[in-house]
């Protein structure tokens, strides 16, 4: 087997030493819907003295089509991304699910084409989720300048089970002196996003995200932090809808990407959306 599908099956990853430069692969969701998270990730990396290269031609890793059962379409899109990283620098992805797609599933969609397969494998080998890169390669350690706050953390299923980075977010938050992490019930359970699942099976998706939002709120945390924008949108948009329905003007469960949170807490200036 060339590409087992779960983190449990993978040998622990070895990390490179701190590079001079990295490629930033933003993902389509970040580019269009949560660009501030991408910008904050770039700022975090640059503040550590790492040059960030943003390949202009990037679009998407192909995951939406792949997981919907359209591997040919996924292959076409993924193939168009293989030339974006000519230098031998790590590729940083601010999302567990896109990183998981590149690291484990590209090998499957290119299985029939040895040349593309080899190129995809070379890209996959130097692809890292932002949080694991910050912890294990950058050694992120900055003074927490924020007021004491309690937050709760949602870890995406891809980060947990494909990238094996489920403890990374915790460790990064633990390095912030004034931040208390509140654990929520059924923490390892999916938030119910699942890409097209949220559209195709709204009943079940709603049940799952409502349970997740309830569990997160039950911690009493001021906000939820997550390293995956799919989950972030799912959770915060659900919480917004609950607020709207209940006539609340103050958000009951604001959410931020981990990059934004880390930057804001450590004296950085998060990007503004507009």
């Amino acid at each position: 087997m060339s590409s087992p599908s779960h983190a449990g099956e993978h040998a622990p990853r070895t990390y490179p030493t701190r590079p001079a430069a990295v490629y930033f692969y933003a993902t389509c969701l970040v580019d269009l819907f949560v660009p501030e998270a991408g910008m904050d990730a770039i700022t975090l990396l640059e503040r550590e003295g790492i040059r960030v290269i943003f390949p202009e031609s990037q679009s998407c890793c192909g995951q939406p089509a792949y997981s919907s059962g359209f591997p040919e379409e996924a292959r076409k899109v993924a193939a168009s991304q293989l030339d974006l990283f000519p230098g031998d620098y790590p590729i940083i992805v601010p999302s567990g699910s896109c990183a998981g797609m590149i690291r484990w599933h590209w090998a499957k969609i290119f299985a029939d084409d040895p040349a593309l397969h080899a190129r995809a494998a070379a890209v996959a080998a130097r692809t890292y989720e932002l949080a694991e890169f910050l912890l294990h390669v950058v050694g992120f350690q900055r003074r927490d300048e924020g007021d004491p706050v309690t937050v709760t953390l949602h870890t995406s299923c891809s980060a947990r089970r494909e990238m094996g980075t489920h403890l990374v977010g915790r460790e990064l938050l633990a390095r912030l002196g004034n931040v208390t992490l509140a654990h929520h019930g059924h923490e390892s359970e999916c938030c119910g996003f699942g890409g097209s699942f949220s559209m195709k099976h709204p009943d079940i998706s709603t049940a799952m995200v409502s349970d997740k939002v309830a569990a997160l709120k039950a911690t009493g945390a001021r906000e939820v932090v997550t390293a995956d924008c799919g989950c972030l949108l799912n959770i915060t948009k659900r919480a917004e809808k609950e607020d709207l329905d209940a006539g609340r003007s103050k958000p009951s469960l604001p959410g931020e990407h981990l990059a934004t949170f880390l930057l804001r807490r450590t004296g950085g200036q998060p990007a503004r959306r507009s």
């Binding site: 792949y66 299923c157 891809s158 089970r161 099976h201 009943d203 659900r238």
Partner: protein, 491 residues
């Protein structure tokens, strides 16, 4: 039938279209899921039961590295067994025959029921007492016997309850897990003669035991499933907790065992790790209360045991899965049910909503082979691909990966040489067009830049109702500036 079916692609079997299982339409599945997820009682009881089972399993595996090596070993045993399946089935048949067990091969549910009905008729059987067998559920054995005027009585307590209620199992290990003790109390009071309402669980169990004890003695035939069939010794292994399996396989004069062709292993020593990981994964037990090794009928001079033992080896679509290297992994399953216990979807809709014999993640990947994709093409989409199932699977079946594969088989345009019966049953010209268009945009940088610029620029035109998304969430709206704009503006 006298030859193993494992090597022939079942896609050629036209008889499989006539299976007795009621047709499951995609619409019916949607309606059942809708009803289930909106049933607060169901939600509460499944959440509680699954939490309990997850905790029990976790307590059995305190050492992650031990779990990992046991899973790797178990996966290896199952893959090795499957790699030699045709040989092992022939060896099993030869050994069992030498042991005095009569072996029958059934291509589908109808054949299996016909074989067992034939046996029952030869013995003029009126009553069959059953140990727990999901394969007998799969072929709707009870219905087939009922139609022939034969009583088939479930003796596993959960199955007995489900049968009394006229329902189907909602879990492969705990068939009546959807019922509360109050519901069972009412059921017993209504259906069991001379019983008045009590919701004392011990009393309820005693009532069931008394009814069943009598039936074991009266039954003409006992039926059981098989957890592992050992080729080198010709042994049928049966894992159970209530002792009813032992009663079914020893008290009646005739014992019929039925199993899928995939359950064979080569050696007795291959059973030990599989047995250990099965009970620990399933119910969080270090070992089950009973473990039966059945190697043949009563020998001269022996005091008990059936006079006749039959084994029915059922294909029913398994050889279709077998023929494909990736789909074959489906057959590694040892039916522990851990995937459903850990599934966030199963937890919210319960087992009955699926409408298939095997619910939950394993049901989503095995049912398309047993029933064809015409009936099941929607099933693989009912998953977020969260991976919890694959993470706990004791034999490392890559369930999410197989779900993705089945989505592709279901939605691709129907073609002439399909790997699966019903390939393309979920094909939609619109969906295909949408994804082709998506690929044209996203695979060409110029197109994507233009598309994303338009989406951002004209974000005010984003529809406020977005399919299923806005049923429970505020709409998704593109940001005023894309990340690429922010990056450019800053430099």
């Amino acid at each position: 039938m006298s030859a193993p079916h494992a090597t022939s692609a079942a896609a050629s079997s036209s008889k499989r279209d006539a299976r007795p299982i009621a047709f499951v339409s995609a619409q019916a599945l949607r309606e059942r899921m809708h009803d289930a997820v909106n049933d607060p009682h169901l939600r509460k009881s499944f959440r509680g039961a699954m939490d309990f089972l997850m905790a029990k399993r976790a307590a059995q595996f305190p050492d992650e590295s031990e779990l990992d090596s046991l899973r790797t070993l178990s996966e290896g045993i199952r893959q090795y067994s499957l790699s030699r399946l045709p040989d092992l089935l022939e060896q099993l048949e030869a050994k069992l025959t030498r042991n005095g067990v009569q072996v029958h091969w059934a291509a589908d549910a109808d054949e299996a029921n016909a074989i067992m009905l034939g046996i029952a008729r030869r013995h003029a059987a009126k009553t069959i007492v059953k140990g727990k067998s999901m394969v007998s559920e799969e072929i709707e054995f009870n219905h087939a016997m009922h139609d022939a005027g034969i009583d088939a009585l479930e003796s596993d307590m959960g199955e007995y309850i489900v049968q009394l209620a006229g329902e189907k199992p909602s879990h492969i290990i705990m068939p009546a897990i959807h019922k509360t003790k109050e519901q069972i109390a009412t059921l017993f009071a209504e259906k069991v003669p001379g019983v008045s309402y009590t919701d004392n669980v011990d009393t309820l169990i005693q009532i069931g035991r008394q009814v069943l004890r009598e039936k074991f003695e009266q039954a003409d035939i006992g039926l059981s499933g098989v957890n592992f069939a050992v080729a080198e010794t010709g042994t049928l292994c049966l894992v159970e907790n209530e002792g009813n399996g032992r009663m079914c396989t020893t008290v009646p004069r005739v014992h019929m065992a039925i199993t899928g062709i995939e359950k064979v292993v080569e050696k007795l020593e291959h059973v030990a790790p599989l047995y250990s990981i099965l009970t620990r994964s399933a119910t969080g037990q270090a070992i089950s209360t009973y473990f039966n090794l059945i190697s043949g009928p009563r020998k001269p001079g022996e005091k008990d045991g059936p006079e006749e033992v039959h084994l029915i080896l059922l294909d029913n679509g398994r050889s279709q899965a077998y023929a494909d290297e990736q789909l074959r992994k489906t057959l590694q399953c040892i039916r522990c049910g851990a995937c459903m216990n850990h599934c966030p979807v199963y937890t919210r809709i319960g087992g009955l909503a699926y409408g298939t014999t095997y619910p939950g993640p394993i049901g989503k990947i095995i049912s398309p082979h047993l029933m064809g994709l015409e009936q099941t093409h929607l099933l693989p989409t009912v998953s977020t691909l969260c991976g919890a199932c694959g993470e706990v699977c004791p034999v490392k079946i890559p369930i999410p990966e197989l779900l993705v594969r089945l989505r592709g088989e279901a939605q691709s345009k129907p073609h002439d040489n399909p790997v699966m019966v019903g390939q393309g049953a979920g094909y939609s010209a619109l969906a295909s067009f949408v994804w082709r268009t998506w690929a044209r945009i996203y695979a060409r940088p110029g197109n994507y830049r233009m598309f994303s610029w338009l989406a951002s620029r004209f974000r005010a035109l984003t529809p406020s109702r977005q399919s299923g998304w806005t049923a429970a969430r505020t709409p998704l709206t593109p940001a005023p500036r894309r990340l690429r704009d922010m990056v450019r503006d800053r430099q």
